[in-house]
């Protein structure tokens, strides 16, 4: 069986400077992994390689082709209605029905025929999520998809992503710089710094995870320390 993601000693450099240096990464089907790192740590570069948008040198680089991406910006085509955006490129005789269903799942059945530029930030990201999931990916790549949403919308999106992940069980790689987001969502958290993984933490806590749970607090504190931010006393 071909693994979803099997990477050994991956290196990517831009103009002589290595952005990723000796990365090893394997992901199991249905696993939720968060990739945490500061700006410029190489996390987006790694996601782009996994998405097939960038190339890299590696000893071994095996990736599933059944993958889809949600970017930080929704990247919907403004001249196509929401449903046409979701159905675009689907090779299926009943593409529109599938798209309608995917939009129902993200709670947008009332916005199916809307133009993307009339959507709110949260609605646009939910459309992008529907567009990614309608392709039934084995690997769902999320590149800081909630970073530009307000705090309340972001929490709702966390719930939505967890619900959809449970239902469709793709493997998820979530790139984020939000420590709580990683702790709340992921099975496994990888910390990337200057092109290396410097820490790996398994989060064996039942979901939904509460922020006042001492176990999540300990993980958050450890991650903040790893990122060079001292945890505050409170």
């Amino acid at each position: 069986m071909i693994p979803l993601v099997d990477i050994r000693q991956l290196t990517r450099s831009f103009g002589g400077a290595a952005v990723l240096d000796g990365i090893d990464l394997a992901m199991a089907p249905g696993e939720f992994v968060a990739l945490l790192g500061r700006s410029g740590s190489g996390k987006t570069t790694l996601l782009r390689i996994l998405a097939g948008l960038d190339t890299a040198a590696a000893e071994r680089l095996q990736l599933t082709t059944r993958r889809s991406v949600v970017f930080q910006e929704p990247r919907l085509l403004p001249w196509k209605s929401v449903i046409d955006n979701v159905a675009l490129g689907l090779r299926h005789p009943d593409a529109r029905t599938l798209a309608t269903h995917a939009l129902e799942e993200v709670g947008l059945s009332h916005r199916i025929d809307a133009w993307p530029l009339t959507l709110s930030g949260g609605e646009a990201q939910r459309s992008a999520l529907a567009r990614a999931l309608v392709r039934e990916p084995e690997l769902l790549l999320l590149d800081e998809p909630f970073a530009s949403l307000d705090a309340l919308t972001r929490l709702r999106m966390h719930e939505l992503v967890l619900a959809l992940w449970r239902k469709h069980s793709p493997a998820v790689l979530l790139v984020t710089h939000d420590v709580w987001e990683a702790v709340a969502l992921a099975d496994r958290i990888l910390v990337l710094d200057q092109g290396h993984f410097i820490r790996e933490i398994n989060v064996d806590i039942d979901r939904p995870r509460r922020r006042d749970d001492p176990r999540t607090g300990r993980i958050e504190a450890a991650l903040l320390e790893e990122l060079g931010v001292l945890p505050t006393q409170d």
Binding site: A51, G52, L53, R67, S68, V69, F71, E73, R75, L77, P78, W79, K80, L88, G89, W115, P116, L117, T118, R131, R135
Partner: protein, 264 residues
């Protein structure tokens, strides 16, 4: 305080429209008085009353309508050529580096030329029939169409193309669903500008050796110092220009209906 927050009291749209009409009407009245008192000789410029009378006479005689149709068909032919050629050239140079290297430099060079100055050459090459007139219209209109579409294609957001790639769209699908619709707003600006250039080229082209069309009527009237006829013909050009521009605006409103309204 509450009043200030509610905004200033807006005068009715009708009143606003009327206030904008006031000075043009005043000018017309002054013009008419000047003509009637003999201050303004009809050899220089006919009065508004005479112009209206001439217009109805020309319409009744069928002369104006015939000229209008001939002129309109010339613009239609020339502009259609410019539209097809401009779009094809812009697609080639916008979508491939090789095409850009071959097509863009000569077009940029030709663009620098004052194209109305080409008329004598066109007459030498094509004689004095329809071809030099249609050719001049096409030649003038092609540049705005080419330049705006080419710029629009080159200005497409890379991020949307990347999103298309992650959705497994092939090159053809990316061109049809992302590149062309994304460049359409620019193209439509070029079409409107190209149309105004087309009318301008026609006016120049028709002044020389035309045996029909509005330009012919103008040069005939010039020989007999009929300033009223000349003004009527100029008004017809203006109206035709406005009508074709309005048509493109309608197409624009439909094709770009996905854009949120700026004035809601």
């Amino acid at each position: 305080m509450n009043r200030a927050m509610a905004g200033p009291v807006r005068p009715g749209r009708l009143a606003q429209f009327a206030s904008r009409l006031a000075s043009p009407i005043a000018l017309l009245v002054i013009w008419q008085i000047a003509s009637m008192t003999g201050l303004l000789s009809p050899r220089i410029l006919a009065g508004p009353g005479d112009i209206v009378a001439t217009a109805s006479r020309l319409i009744a005689a069928g002369e104006l309508i015939n000229g209008l149709i001939v002129s309109f068909l010339r613009v239609l032919a020339g502009f259609s050529i410019a539209l097809v050629a401009g779009i094809v050239l812009a697609l080639i140079s916008g979508l491939s580096r090789f095409g850009e290297a071959v097509i863009d430099p000569p077009i940029q060079m030709l663009k620098a030329m004052p194209f109305l100055g080409l008329l004598p050459l066109f007459i030498l090459w094509f004689g004095i029939g329809e071809i030099p007139k249609i050719g001049l219209v096409a030649f003038g209109a092609i540049f705005p169409i080419y330049l705006t579409l080419y710029g629009g294609i080159r200005g497409i957001d890379r991020k949307l193309i990347e999103a298309g790639q992650t959705m497994d769209l092939g090159t053809t699908s990316i061109i049809c669903h992302i590149v062309i619709p994304g460049a359409l707003p620019s193209l439509l600006v070029g079409v409107r500008y190209g149309l105004s250039v087309a009318w301008l080229s026609l006016v120049v082209g028709e002044q020389i050796n035309a045996a029909s069309g509005i330009g012919y009527t103008i040069s005939y009237a010039r020989d007999f110092m009929q300033t009223d006829v000349i003004v009527v013909c100029l008004l017809v050009y203006a109206i035709l220009g406005l009508l074709t521009d309005g048509l493109v605006r309608m197409i624009e409103a439909y094709a770009l209906r996905w854009r949120p309204e700026v004035f809601g």
